[in-house]
Symmetry: C2
Subunit: 398 residues, 2 copies
Amino acid sequence: MIKVAIMGYGTVGSGVYEVIKTNQKSINKKVGQELEIKYVLDLREFPGDPVMDVLTHDFEDIINDEEVRIVAEVMGGLHPAYEFTRRCLEAGKSVCTSNKELVAEHGAELIQIAKDHQVNYLFEASVGGGIPIIRPLNSSLTADVILEISGILNGTTNYMLTKMAEEGLDYNEVLKEAQAKGYAELHPEADVEGWDACRKIAILTSLASGNQVDFRDIHTEGITKITKEDFLYAKKMKRAIKLLATSRKVGDTYCIMVSPALISRDNPLYMVNDVFNAVEVVGNMLGASMFYGSGAGKLPTASAVAGDMVDAARHLGKIITLFWSPEKLELAPVEESSRKFFVRMKSAEEARKYFGNVEIWDAGIPGEIGAVTPVMTEAEFAAKAEGADLIGMIRVED
Amino acid sequence: MIKVAIMGYGTVGSGVYEVIKTNQKSINKKVGQELEIKYVLDLREFPGDPVMDVLTHDFEDIINDEEVRIVAEVMGGLHPAYEFTRRCLEAGKSVCTSNKELVAEHGAELIQIAKDHQVNYLFEASVGGGIPIIRPLNSSLTADVILEISGILNGTTNYMLTKMAEEGLDYNEVLKEAQAKGYAELHPEADVEGWDACRKIAILTSLASGNQVDFRDIHTEGITKITKEDFLYAKKMKRAIKLLATSRKVGDTYCIMVSPALISRDNPLYMVNDVFNAVEVVGNMLGASMFYGSGAGKLPTASAVAGDMVDAARHLGKIITLFWSPEKLELAPVEESSRKFFVRMKSAEEARKYFGNVEIWDAGIPGEIGAVTPVMTEAEFAAKAEGADLIGMIRVED
């Protein structure tokens, strides 16, 4: 029998409890022995919930219990998750987590600490909820040089953008609706400002490159400036507006950006709607492959955490190789990356004056037109846009 | 330095050689030491090809060389691939393969032999070419009970069906074209009769269930009876015709079928065209996730074999757990599985007479109509169809 603990009984934590209890028989079979939840750590009480039998308010119960070999850290946030994770690893317990903030900030360090203590730090649930992407990237695509990773990595914003596209609603309306349905938080900045997607693409690029990407270095724009008028143009252009996180290999490093983008129907990410997430990975030998599924939600995320716990249980005393060194990756400057830009301006003349040979789109909005610029670098675009009266701007990706 | 051998210098074998040579630097970094190709085994000569430096015609050179720790078996076919693989594993060499025939036939046995000798038998390339599906199924989705696997698992037939849909060509015309382009073999039975997809869904279901699925037990139909007229109906119905391999959990076992199916636009497999493959996996906790990419082709498949070689190199002396016991899985009878059926008959009256409350489709073909039956079991359909004059039949899946 292998005893485990779950730290945090919020959405994901109660999901992990539910996954293990519901699938206990099949999980035991896959582990080769029984996996028993000995503790659930939470400061709250849950009267009437069977979790009360194993509930503790004291982290020391878990850390001091040598029987506990695997711990799920599903508390979220940096503190005390970081301290608890460190202490668990140092005490010889493997840790499985959904905490992308912590993984993005301290991933390389915690992997090293785990290695030093012959245990594992696993974080499949930190990116893409239930979509297996960490393990394929780390263990399957290893013969390839990864040329590009691009993804829809945040379910909340993808739900909001889908609603805006389908129902012609404006940003504030869909935000309110998403909050009412529990798809967006009361303080939605982490999602709508792109910070969540930024941490996830940082984790994926760290694994692709083998070096530490500091998420603070990533150019990140959210969806707060997207309006219902933008979707009128998108419809005309037969494109979708998505919050894209892209990481492209440039020389020995990567150029990473998180921003809204107009993508074409030929892009496999075009059809990824609602709370679904998808990640496209392009290897120099493999070509393109895509991973698609529920990007968030209690049970899909919990399933990924519990899957890591099964893997940790199968690897007691053995280290699962993770290719992520603490050495920092200096990112390529975004200013040098090239693409087309979609701009909304007062007239076609204006657009031509600032951006040259543009493609004009008319969405029937009085007093403005849309224009797609030729391919240019971010720096060139910024220089040309200086002094121009832009009603809106969205990047164009094919 | 880790020395490896490649058995077979055909399409995949020369691809593995190319992948390792092209990405030597990044592969060495991921392995943590140099991965050197010491032998390539093939009976032929390749004058002028740099492979000549390491070419051998004699398997004994590889088996007797203790320096060789990892062998890629990319010969295809059952013999001598089976004997060579066995001997390599027994000699303490890990084997990585793209040989789905061998994996479907002897997978459980070879995994056990590998385990007994503290080495690994890895076969990511055997299903879905470059799409990582074996490793996610084996290591990531382990907390879930897998309710369904459905996939487009054969690139040749998907290319042919896509051509038929887009260009209105008939089966024999696209087959000739596919053969001319090298997408179909001169003897195309393994692809067009569904045998290849059958072996792949057998492998996936073995891993999902943990028991051995005998591919001979699987109800398998190919695409040879699909005509250009069928696509006229498909277009009217806004559906695609795909060669689907599906495996659905029924009680403690699975019901598996390979056959053409009319799938709706809402099915994520709808948009999988040309030589691409995709696998959808539904877990009881995870919900649906999908894996998409190049299903075949020299470099994608070779990339998967080489990725397994990297994993084998990282795990020298350590066993990568694979959950596939030799115990046979008795499949659920296909006769009891239910769905709608699309039939082509002489008249709506005839269709109603045999199948009751059908939905009628008119594709403008003189002397016939299309009809979609209510949901019924395969056994019920067979009984009702007795004596009916069916011009064609395709199963309907949502």
